[in-house]
């Protein structure tokens, strides 16, 4: 298992470098110049030239990339050009908000998704199965910002139960968590349902039924345990997507976080912050995938053996 883990981690290195190149090139190809956002009315061409040189933007692109990635691998994200703070400090302030939001959203989509999946599988083919799966599928098709606004209008404006926005107390987490959580529920529910139905057809389940074990015990203790392998993998994969999904939700709910920081920095062309934020979001996807693989391998020895 250790060898497997090391091999998978080593495989991440070239992926990480490729992702960093893509992010860097994409940002620098976007129209816009961070220096425009630094120059105040009245500033002369000499001030533009001095700032361009100060931030190394006059150097060839490959040199800028090597300088940036060289520092990043040493843990130094540099200084924000427009926001004038160390990037690590800006991200350090934003990340806890996003991790809290993402973590709770993952919890919501897991609990909801697995519950719906179990119920749907237990009543396979019934109106309940079709109704539940249709409902979560519809929910997952709606864009995050739209669900967010809808929830605000119902629970904040009409009912007055929750704050509209912000990051002031646990109440302000409810709507954004539900917004992101609902988006992932359909996938978790579908995977749970399919895996449960698959496990229900296995010989050992029939044997348990023949032995007279209570159907609920079979479903929850035996079938669910087998069905959880793909569910856990999907949950690990969702870590990255949830972090990415938080971007629009943070803006709609005016919450500080990596998403708000990313949008603001994109508008200002603040390259170092955009690059670092995107790299962290990409790393969340990569690490989620790695975690999914490791968990799957830990639970199913055949996967480890296949890779040997």
């Amino acid at each position: 298992m250790l060898g497997f883990a090391i091999r998978r981690i080593l495989m991440l290195v070239p992926v990480f470098l490729a992702v960093s190149v893509i992010i860097f090139l994409m940002i620098h190809m976007l129209p816009g110049d961070p220096i425009d956002n630094l120059l105040r009315i009245g500033a002369g061409p000499d001030q533009r030239a001095a700032l361009t040189e100060k931030y190394g933007l006059d150097r060839p692109l490959y040199e800028q990339y090597l300088y940036w990635i060289g520092n990043v691998v040493q843990g130094d994200f540099g200084n924000a050009i427009v926001q004038r703070r160390p990037v690590a400090s800006l991200i350090g302030q934003a990340l806890p908000y996003s991790l809290t939001l993402g973590g709770l959203a993952l919890l919501v989509s897991t609990v909801l998704g697995v519950t719906v999946g179990i119920i749907a599988a237990s009543f396979k083919g019934s109106w309940l199965d079709q109704g539940l799966m249709g409902g979560v599928l519809f929910g997952s098709m709606l864009p995050n910002f739209w669900i967010g606004l809808l929830l605000i209008l119902v629970f904040s404006v009409s009912l007055g139960w929750t704050p509209v926005s912000g990051a002031r107390g646990w109440e302000s987490l409810i709507l954004p968590v539900v917004t992101i959580g609902l988006g992932g529920t359909a996938l978790v529910a579908r995977v749970t349902r399919v895996a449960m139905i698959d496990a229900q057809g296995r010989d050992f389940v029939m044997l348990l039924h023949a032995k007279g074990v209570h159907p609920a015990v079979i479903q929850l203790r035996h079938v669910l345990r087998h069905a959880l392998i793909p569910v856990v993998t999907i949950l690990a994969l969702r870590i990255g997507w949830i972090m990415g999904g938080a971007v629009t939700v943070e803006v709609v709910f005016a919450r500080p976080g990596l998403g708000s920081l990313l949008i603001k920095s994109l508008n200002q062309h603040d390259y170092p912050v955009v690059q670092a934020s995107l790299l962290i979001l990409a790393m969340a996807v990569l690490l989620g995938t790695l975690l999914g693989d490791l968990l799957q391998a830990a639970m199913d020895p055949r996967i480890r053996d296949n890779l040997k």
Partner: protein
């Protein structure tokens, strides 16, 4: 998202309100253009929110007529040759940490700008010297008639120089030591700033002198999404919006407990005309376009009658905007049609002008905000009425500046926010072609007048006259068409707060928050 929010809002039930803030606490939402500030360091920051106005004071401040009035300086005197300025300071002023504010403070403060982003503000000052505890003299390298303007900006806020040096990079983030009516309690970048009343504050400007603020706590929240900010105001989650976008003005007016406060604006909407791109390389075509815009119709149809029709390049509160009538650009369809006729463009059967078999078709660039798109459509229709067909091209807000740098634009609709006549140099200097000089104007006489206006004056009266001449000459070349002078609109909850009306200040900051009251 804005229109979706409004649509849904229309169907939502007006109902349960969130619990209001504590009795003497006020929650305000920052203007969209002030969100994203990462520091309250006036020396090095390039973006400061209203919080900086409230935690610091400046030597002078502008009133509602953009005239300079005392703040930390009681009075001032400029030498006839412009080479010295003497400021008499208010006695008894102290910083938040108890340190007295004296002439020595000013002497120690100015060198903090050396090498900083905001050094240009005091570039003309050679040095400052103490005359007495309450009198300081600036010895100048050259006359600087714009000094009072520079001293009145938020970037000329005065921190305690000793605390500033001691805290280094953390000054303005972890701690702020100013003399302003509020002290920093906490600052979470991208989220909110909490300010506490400075009980010792008795040196406020104008009507608010002699007493501290009436409110105890002020929370300044950052909400980038306009529809979210409006819903917060509507549900009582916040008490004030420092800026109500045009899209939400009707919603605020239609809500029983919400009210708008109108303040003079510092921005201007205009249409740059690229003088190098045919057909606008012909001054007669530019003249035709400049007089074809029905400004009042735009004010009424797009902006609900709020704001003013613009007839020059400067906001009307500036004295340099008072130019001779022959240089003002107003709606005059006869003159517009005559100018286009004189240029040889003749109306065809479809109403569009032609010359040598070529139709008078141009492009009109605009940015993606809904208000700009609406405005551009009205301008498009007005140009069509005089026989010019304009195709609207919409660009993303973050990308349009790079598009201007190509110099391919013919017409554009845009805005600027500035309250000094030197904006003329920024947008029309021959040394700033492509961007910011989108009009691509490079005229020798304009360059001479620019030099006289920017650096040729010894005192403010001379500067004003020079800028007026520069403004008039630019207008005579029609490198732009003025459109609209907006007002600033604040929204507030009348059940919660009372705002001073009329407010004797150019912006709602120190004076406004000193006079703001919470209804018990």
């Amino acid at each position: 998202m804005k229109s979706l929010g409004k649509l849904l809002l229309g169907t939502a039930l007006a109902g349960g309100m969130m619990l209001p803030a504590q009795a003497q606490d006020v929650v305000a939402v920052l203007s969209q253009n002030e969100t994203g500030a990462t520091s309250y360091n006036p020396v090095s920051a390039t973006l400061l929110s209203v919080g900086a106005w409230l935690m610091y004071d400046r030597l002078v401040v502008k009133d509602e007529n953009l005239q300079y009035v005392p703040n930390l300086a009681e009075s001032w005197e400029e030498a006839p040759d412009g080479m010295t300025w003497t400021f008499k300071l208010k006695p008894g002023v102290t910083f938040h940490n108890g340190t007295p504010f004296t002439a020595q403070t000013v002497v120690d403060w100015l060198p903090l700008y050396k090498g900083s982003e905001n050094e240009y503000l005091f570039d003309a000052i050679e040095y400052a010297e103490v005359v007495s505890d309450t009198e300081v003299k600036f010895v100048m390298k050259r006359p600087e008639p714009n000094l009072l303007y520079n001293l009145s900006t938020v970037y000329a806020s005065i921190p305690d120089p000793a605390a500033f040096t001691e805290l280094g990079e953390e000054f303005g983030v972890a701690e702020v030591v100013g003399t302003g009516p509020f002290k920093l309690d906490s600052f979470e970048i991208g989220n909110q700033t909490v300010l506490l009343r400075n009980d010792d504050y008795a040196w406020g400007p104008g009507d608010a002198t002699g007493h501290p603020a009436k409110i105890e706590t002020l929370t300044l929240r950052e909400i980038a999404e306009a529809s979210t900010a409006f819903l917060e105001l509507k549900t009582g989650g916040v008490d004030m919006l420092m800026n109500v976008p045009t899209d939400f003005v009707g919603e605020v007016e239609g809500s029983g407990n919400l009210k708008l406060l109108e303040l003079p604006g510092t921005d201007l909407v205009y249409m740059p005309i690229n003088v190098t791109k045919p057909p606008f390389d012909d001054i007669k075509v530019r003249e035709g376009v400049a007089f074809a815009i029905n400004r009042q119709e735009i004010v009424d149809a797009v902006f609900g009658g709020r704001g003013k029709a613009a007839d020059g390049f400067l906001i009307s509160a500036l004295p340099e905007s008072q130019i001779a009538p022959e240089y003002r650009m107003t709606y005059d369809p006869e003159r517009a049609n005559k100018a286009l006729d004189d240029a040889g463009w003749v109306k065809g059967a479809d109403g569009i002008r032609e010359k040598g078999g070529e139709k008078l078709k141009v492009t009109l660039w605009t940015q993606s905000d809904s208000i700009f798109r609406r405005l551009s459509e009205v301008v498009q229709a007005q140009l069509k009425a005089v026989g010019l067909e304009a195709e609207i091209l919409t660009f993303d807000n973050a990308a349009i500046r790079d598009q201007y740098k190509t110099g391919e634009q013919q017409l554009a609709v845009r805005t600027y926010l500035w309250d000094n006549a030197d904006i003329l140099e920024w947008f029309f200097s021959g040394e700033r072609l492509y961007y910011p000089n989108i009009s691509m104007l490079n005229d020798p006489k304009a360059e001479e007048l620019k030099a006289a206006a920017m650096t040729g004056a010894k005192n403010s009266a001379e500067r004003e006259a020079n800028f007026r001449a520069y403004h008039e000459y630019i207008n005579s070349l029609y490198p732009y068409a003025p459109i609209y002078e907006p007002v600033q609109l604040m929204g507030y909850n009348t059940d919660r707060v009372t705002l001073p009306e009329p407010l004797h200040a150019a912006r709602f900051n120190t004076l406004g928050f000193l006079q703001l009251e919470v209804k018990e």
